[in-house]
Structures are given as C-alpha cells and as structure tokens.
C-alpha cells in the first residue's frame, strides 16, 4: 500500500512541478531601456501568393490594400518581394500618394522582382547581382546629419537550399563592400528552414545549407525579427530583417498578422530600431 501511496504522491508532485515550472514568456522588448536616438522603421513583405495559385506573383488588385497597410504603419523604408514588374511598382507608389520613392530590381532569370520603397527623396537604388538574379539595394538618409543607411530587398530561391546559400554568400559579400560607417540592413524572404521547434530530426543537406547561409549572415548581422514569430503560413519564419549587431538598438519587432491580402502566404515584418 505504501508503495502505491508513494507513487501517487510522486505523480501529483510531478504534475504540480510541471505547472510551477511552466516556461516563462520570452524576454520582452518592452523591458529594454528606452533610447533617445532617432527611430528608423523598416518593413519587409513578400506580397506574392501561395503555391496553389496559377500566378504566384503579386496581384495588382491587392496593391491598394498593401498601400493602406504601409501607410498605417508608416515605415521609413520597405523591402518588397515578388512584384511582377515596374508597372506594379508605379501603381503601388500611386496608391501611396507620393510619400515614397521606389525602384525594382532587374528581373534576371526570374519572373518576379524585388523592390524597395523609401521616404527619402534623395535615395539611390542599385541592383545587386547574386546567384544569377538580382536583389535591390537602396541607399538613403533618415536625416541628413545621420549616417547613410542601406536597405537590401532580397528573395532567395524557394526550392534549392544550395542556391539560397550561394545567393546569401554573394549578398553578404556585397554588403561587406559598403563604405565604412554605412548602416546596412538586409531584408526579405530567404526561405531558410532553421527554426527551432523543440524537435529532433535527422541531418539533411538542405538543412545544412540553410544553416550555413543563416550562420554566415549572423557573422555580420543580427536577426532583428527573431522574437517576432512566424512570418508565413504553416508556422514558418522565412522573412527576415538583418541589421548591424551593435550600432542599432532594437525597439520593436512585429509580424503584422492579419495584414495578408487575398491569397498571400506571407505577413509583413515590421521592425523599429533606435540609431
């Protein structure tokens, strides 16, 4: 009888202990010290559709809603992926009422393009060749007296991890060549599958390629949206904004869930940093 009673007590103790040690919420950004520095707000958004659609590029009919989301959150610069071309950019800029300047990257070997929208009227845009396609970099100032800022809009291959790795390598090489003092941000849909989901799995080549590409980025950048959660359907965090590890203070990182329009499979990621 005593053994059964002991087991019952241990069983109850374990249940109580499990409740007592319920993992706490992750550290809150709200607890960090406020900074008096000027704030920079950046957004990345893959506005394309899910694979189930015939045309998975952005749909022109959605652009008005996209513009509304952008105006509501008022970012200083936005990296956009999967526009079908220059025409859609012009329509989007039109909906934004002249508040932003923008450009699209050269199509390269893809049927969709990356774009960057910036508030700064003096922004410069530059194509970045990486793995046979083009990302787009925008160089701008938040204020004339502040250092130059570069925002890269990138979209890595969705199907080949090896190509994602090669693409990332060339992109990082480009950012490393920026003049000293420039604050570089790399934003976009990288399609990395490196999320820790409290599960074990066996080793695959794809996983290793993504791991190496992501680790390479983290050698030079900080993953600013890491605590913001999933950015795409099926609980995937594949959209990132990478920023300098020390020169900026992260004030806010948020995935705007509910912002997706039509059959988009990504949500925008918004971050705010103090310079």
């Amino acid at each position: 009888m005593w053994a059964k009673a002991l087991l019952a007590i241990l069983f109850a103790l374990m249940i109580c202990s499990a409740f007592y040690f319920q993992p706490a919420r992750k550290r809150s950004l709200l607890a960090t010290k406020p900074s008096d520095g000027p704030r920079l707000r950046l957004m990345t958004w893959n506005v394309g559709y899910a694979d189930l659609e015939d045309d998975t590029r952005a749909q022109t009919r959605d652009l008005r809603a996209v513009a509304e989301i952008i105006m509501t959150h008022d970012p200083d610069a936005i990296a956009i992926q999967e526009l079908s071309g220059d025409e859609q950019l012009k329509i989007l800029l039109g909906y934004l009422g002249g508040r932003y300047r923008g450009a699209v990257a050269r199509p390269g070997n893809a049927d969709r393009v990356e774009a960057v929208l910036v508030k700064d009227r003096a922004a410069r845009f530059e194509d970045i060749r990486a793995d046979g396609k083009f990302a787009l970099g925008a160089t701008f100032h938040l204020r004339p007296e502040l250092p130059e800022i570069v925002l890269v809009s990138a979209h890595a291959d969705a199907f080949s991890a090896a190509r994602r790795r090669a693409y990332t390598g060339e992109l990082v090489e480009w950012t490393e060549a920026r003049p000293e003092g420039t604050i570089v941000f790399v934003a976009g849909d990288f399609n990395f599958e490196v999320a820790v989901k409290d599960e074990s799995h066996l080793y695959t080549d794809d996983l290793k390629h993504d791991s190496e590409a992501y680790s390479y980025l983290l050698k030079y950048f900080r993953d600013l949206g890491r605590d913001a959660g999933d950015t795409a359907i099926n609980d995937r965090r594949i959209d990132y904004i990478f920023g300098p590890p020390e020169r900026v203070l992260l004030r806010r990182a948020e995935v705007l869930r509910g912002a997706a329009v039509g059959r988009m499979d990504h949500w925008p990621l918004l971050i705010e940093v103090a310079l």
Partner: protein, 283 residues
C-alpha cells in the same frame, strides 16, 4: 527487497537482449565513426569552399565532441528506445511466458515489491546503457577524431537559433548531464513497456506494443499536418533531455518537461502496479 534487487540484477546481467543492446550500440558507433570520418575528410578537403563563400565545417568543427553529440542525438530517438522497450517489456511477461511468475508470486514478498525491484533494475540498465553509449562515443571521438570545443549552429540538430559554442570541459559535463536527462526521458518508455508487460502474456507483445506506440507518436509528431497534436504526445516531452546541450540551458523549460515525463513515469507505474496486484496469474 535487497535480495530481490540482487536477483533482478543477476537476471538482467544474464539477459541476451541486454548483451545484444550493448553490442548493437558498439556497432552503431563504428558505423557513425566511419561515416563521420569520411564526411569530415571530404568537407574539409576544399570542395565546400570552392562552391560557397562560407562554411563552418572546418577542422575545428569536426572534433570528438561534435561526433559524440551527433551520434548520441541520432541514436536516442530511434535506436535506444527499442532496447529499453525490449528489456522492460520482458520483465513481467517474460516471467509469465517461462512459467516462473506464479512461483515468484507465491513467495512471501508483495507483488508491489517484485514489480518495483524489476523497474528499478530496468532504470539501472537504462542509465548504464546511456552512460556506456555516451562514454563510448566520447572515447571513440577522442581517439579517432580529436578534442575541441563543441560548436553549435542553427538548423542541424535544432538546438540553437544562433551560432553558439560550449567550451570543451563544460561540454564534457553536459554529456554527463545528458546521461541523466536521457535516462529520465527513456524511463517513460520503460514504464509503458512495464505496463504492457503486465497486460500482455508474452514479452514480444509487450515490446512491439511499446515500440508501436512510441513510433506512432514520434512519426505523427514529426508531420507538420498534425502539429497541433504534438503537445499531447509523450514523445514531445521526452525531447527535453537535449536541452542540456544548449549553450545556455533553459532550466525552467527543462524542469517543466522533466516533470511531465515524471508524471508519465509515476502515473504509468501506479496503473501497472494496481493492475499487477489484482491480476489473476494462471500460468
């Protein structure tokens, strides 16, 4: 009780399935060593750096600790549970099949003591298996691959979300912790196997039922479609043992999932003992 424990220890030491488990693990380490050695040779031979700008797979990365970590991680989910289920599943049902259970139960010793002494020996065997396997991997790693720090990267093994490092001496302690946390996690399987051993008349049935249940939860838990079911499977909670290999151990979560495993262990044992105490033994 002490005599009973000694008897059970004697039985376990003579059990062929116990010998088989140790021999299989030695074979597994041999295969892992072969694969790891050739992979490391290839990856540090210049091929990877020709194609890509960056690789973390350097000579520093491939060391004995990395080898031991991969080997332990790979075998823990699919290999070691089979041996634990096999040995635990044979405890009561094995005695029933050979006709000795009835004889044991007529001795002036309570059924609860018999059951608990058997479970304690299974727990001892499980720890021995884990400790032996980890020790063997570290030894093989030291002799054939060499020492170094334990470098961790996001993705493979799903341990960290940013690159991290555990220094050599600290990493060795982490392996010691892993032998304990791994044993605790495996005791969930041992307890289930003991329950099935009480319920079924043959050790084969008990073992197969345990492995089937474990694999069913393990597989379903790995399919994205059923992600919402994952929190309800004991296989998800068992994964807590790996937390000791994170650069900074998340103690809160470690204790939480360790406690859930404890609840599974003691709850299942309580059920098994209750059934065993009332069981009509006819063989």
């Amino acid at each position: 009780m002490l005599t009973q424990l000694m008897l059970e220890l004697f039985k376990i030491c003579r059990s062929r399935s116990v010998h088989l488990s140790f021999i299989t693990l030695i074979g597994f380490v041999g295969l892992m060593l072969w694969g790891f050695y050739s992979y490391a040779e290839r990856k540090t031979g210049g091929q990877a750096t020709e194609q890509f700008k960056y690789t973390y797979e350097s000579k520093n990365y491939f060391n004995g600790l990395t080898f031991a970590l991969y080997s332990v991680m790979f075998s823990f989910s699919l290999l070691i549970p089979i041996f634990v289920a096999m040995v635990a599943g044979a405890q009561i049902a094995g005695e029933a099949r050979t006709g000795t259970l009835r004889m044991i139960c007529v001795r002036p010793l309570s059924r609860v003591s018999i059951f608990l002494s058997k479970f304690l020996m299974v727990a001892f065997y499980t720890y021995l298996l884990m400790a032996f396997f980890i020790g063997l991997n570290l030894l093989a790693g030291l002799l054939f691959v060499g020492w170094g720090n334990l470098e961790l990267y996001p993705g493979p093994l799903n341990l960290v979300d940013e690159p991290g490092k555990i220094m050599r001496d600290e990493a060795l302690w982490r392996f010691v912790y892993a032998s304990l946390s791994g044993t605790w996690a495996l005791l969930v399987i041992a307890a289930i196997a003991m329950l099935f051993s009480v319920l079924f008349e043959t050790p084969q049935m008990a073992t197969v039922a345990t492995i089937a249940l474990y694999l069913m939860f393990y597989i379903i838990g790995r399919i994205e479609f059923f992600e919402h079911l994952r929190p309800y499977f004991f296989t998800t909670d068992m994964d807590f043992w790996r937390d000791v290999f994170k650069p900074s151990i998340p103690w809160q979560s470690f204790y939480h999932y360790g406690s859930i495993c404890g609840a599974y262990i003691f709850g299942t044992l309580l059920l098994a003992i209750t059934i065993f105490s009332r069981k009509d033994i006819t063989s």
